[in-house]
Point group: C2
Chain length 504, copies 2
Amino acid sequence: MPANHTAAYESLCSNARETAKLASIMGLLEWDERTKMPPAGGDYRAEQISYLAGEIHKRQTNPAVGEWLAALADSPLAADRHSESGTVIRQLQRQYDKKTKLPQSLVEELSRTAVLGQQMWVEARKADDFAKFRPLLEKTVELKRQEAAAIGFAVTPYDALLDDYEPGATTAEVGPALAGLRDALTPLVEQIVGSSRKPDGELLKKEFPLDAQEAFGKAASAAIGFDYEAGRLDVTDHPFCAGAGPRDQRITTRYNLHDFGDAFFSILHEAGHGLYEQGLPADQFGLPTGEAVSLGIHESQSRMWENQVGRSRAFWEHFLPQAQTAFASLKGVSLDAFYGAINEVRPSLIRVDADEVTYNLHILIRFELERALIEGDLQPAELPGAWNEKYQRYLGITPPNDADGVLQDVHWSAGLFGYFPTYSLGNLYAGQFFAQANKDLGDLPAAFRRGEFRPLLDWLRQQIHAHGQRWSAGELALQITGRPLSHAPWIEQMRAKYGELYGL
Amino acid sequence: MPANHTAAYESLCSNARETAKLASIMGLLEWDERTKMPPAGGDYRAEQISYLAGEIHKRQTNPAVGEWLAALADSPLAADRHSESGTVIRQLQRQYDKKTKLPQSLVEELSRTAVLGQQMWVEARKADDFAKFRPLLEKTVELKRQEAAAIGFAVTPYDALLDDYEPGATTAEVGPALAGLRDALTPLVEQIVGSSRKPDGELLKKEFPLDAQEAFGKAASAAIGFDYEAGRLDVTDHPFCAGAGPRDQRITTRYNLHDFGDAFFSILHEAGHGLYEQGLPADQFGLPTGEAVSLGIHESQSRMWENQVGRSRAFWEHFLPQAQTAFASLKGVSLDAFYGAINEVRPSLIRVDADEVTYNLHILIRFELERALIEGDLQPAELPGAWNEKYQRYLGITPPNDADGVLQDVHWSAGLFGYFPTYSLGNLYAGQFFAQANKDLGDLPAAFRRGEFRPLLDWLRQQIHAHGQRWSAGELALQITGRPLSHAPWIEQMRAKYGELYGL
């Protein structure tokens, strides 16, 4: 190995690790802002965070990074794309290109518009007035198209944006998978809605003391493997998982006295994100070999623990007796009734409140609309009409107003185009991975019934977590399950589960 | 104003504000480490903090700072030492000189020895074996003498070290005040110990539910003015006050079911520190005009709220009825009994557990010993003997072992020489300021009786907090009270208070 290769590689890694140090510090500041910070601390916190963001950007776009990468391009260290060094070089090259391709003026314009957009979105939503938000949405779409053009794309500008959240994924790959999902899902939802058998979710709306909810959620998330020696659970309005270092993952939830499911399943969900982070190689922290692959893969972990595991009958065969000890209101509730209640399907207006089955229809609507906006097939002015039309078509309901319709999500106002589909990709990958794990490990439900979650976690650690970004999401799916991204396993799981529950 | 002056001044301020941004971020990381961080996060947290410390040091010793200061030395901006710009230039010059005078090799040696010293101190204390600690103490004393020599001093090397914590103070000024304190205090303690009247502290050792302690402590600290919109109260082993920004002050305490006083008075104490920080001009954050003067002045604020206010009869005329509502165990307790209990004087071995009166004798012993060590009049090998001899002489007790004697404090093992006297300076300044405030505002106890603490806080804000570092501690005392640092007002307060309590 020529000395200059080694030196360039070491400099590259050291810069990435230093950048990660700043990013992890920023992670703590953001966690604190959302959980502990006194209200008056907000103004200065914004200054601290924007300062760190600037320092991070400086290190990511440092021209020296370009030089180190150029020196390494044809080196033996880069020869195997999936080796440790090959992964580091490939992914840092990717990041450097992305970060340096955008003109500074566009970066600033995007950032300013995102701030204004979110402010205006809050107002427009409160006033139920899409017209207020429209000019900034138009500007945002235009800027995102410029961003896509600056980054470059092969087929559609949407590719360039999707790639930010799901690296390597293309519209040509994701589009058909999601279209297949939609075509298989809408009839299933119609069948469910038409069924005369109705599980009753009301038993989850009795009284559940907050302390007991916290203790029970903590115990269950610890039981599936979330390591509280290297993590915490706190309270926020919107549940999230944030990292403050390689062995410091913090999840949050919110407790509602009259809703067992809201906190419990969000704890499992966020713990699923945390388990992925806790499973990444800590000694590679800050390098692409120690970082998550994509939002889709991240979501596959959270969704799998929340749904394939946490909403399974086997899980509750183990946990329901404990829940009945913890909550007086669950005394005498049968496993069947409880299992039905946590899996009630009901088409609704609001994405974040949606059940496991209809959730993806909310995502599909957003994916189709944002893709059309970016590709120029839909004008922002036409968006509310198109939104309502799709809600009627896919979910059989029409939003009574824009506040609970097209204005319900913050994403577009913040410039997040290409983000929504990763939620559904997470579900599809979760379906694929879970089916494969069940095949590889034998009867997973039997293990859950005994309270054993370690085999599944170890499998995920070995198949996914340990690799960092060595393989892309699509490559991982192919490698682990023998097939590319597909909606089939997930749909099959839904048909089996809800077929039984709703007597289809 | 020549343009180069303005430019240099702006650069200087901007560098200081950026440094403060990093320091405030470090403040949050340290607070989090001691209150919230999961245990496994510690290793990486140390890396984050040491990285930030390095970045802060770089900015403080940046040669450009020296150039800006040189350009400003004779400028009109520096002409008035106490103007806004004059204060900024003078104090940043001071900091720059201090930071750049020490050779890097000495800085590193000091830092390494402090880490080893603290580790060895923990072991030596556990083993009750001073000999284990002696070699590192010898090395530390030698290094601190080198540090003093590098920084320079007029009279004694102890001056150079004291100046780190009490800027501008000299041994010639502090020594006589503390000697006067000692000479007035020892007979008072003897009188108290010899008195047949004994307040009974036992009534504070009944049961005090932790939640109620927290709520009551929070209410009382809010009543004296601590702003919880810009602050928090959390739990730690050792109470402290930490800042994470100009409007983000975090205090901590610990709760003991069978000890009312421990948590309550530490909350008042830390809130006193927090009130000072909350009173500094937020728009000057990061500049010397927005920072605390000295540890002694800081301690004067915490001690005044804890003792002159919180341990006064008037304070409890207002708060005892509330405390009796909050704590069943205080039902039927008379004001006299309660007031006596919170002011029980009992010479004891351990500084941090000492009462208001004897506390200063613990400090005086440490001051005299560390000064002798640094001046070469005492060898580390002779320290345990000298310690025990002074405890017998000043407090009438001899430590049964070194663990509860000379090994009880972490300070010397961490290289903190010159720090201890600031605790007593705080008490003396608190005595001076409180006497003056009482004179300026009329009858302060009458206000306390009505639950009115705002007049005192406003007076402190105006007289002390608002000025940042415009005046040194000694200048402040002279300016506010018309006399230099003196033990007289504090001793007078103690004689009056404890004379009545103990019937002297």
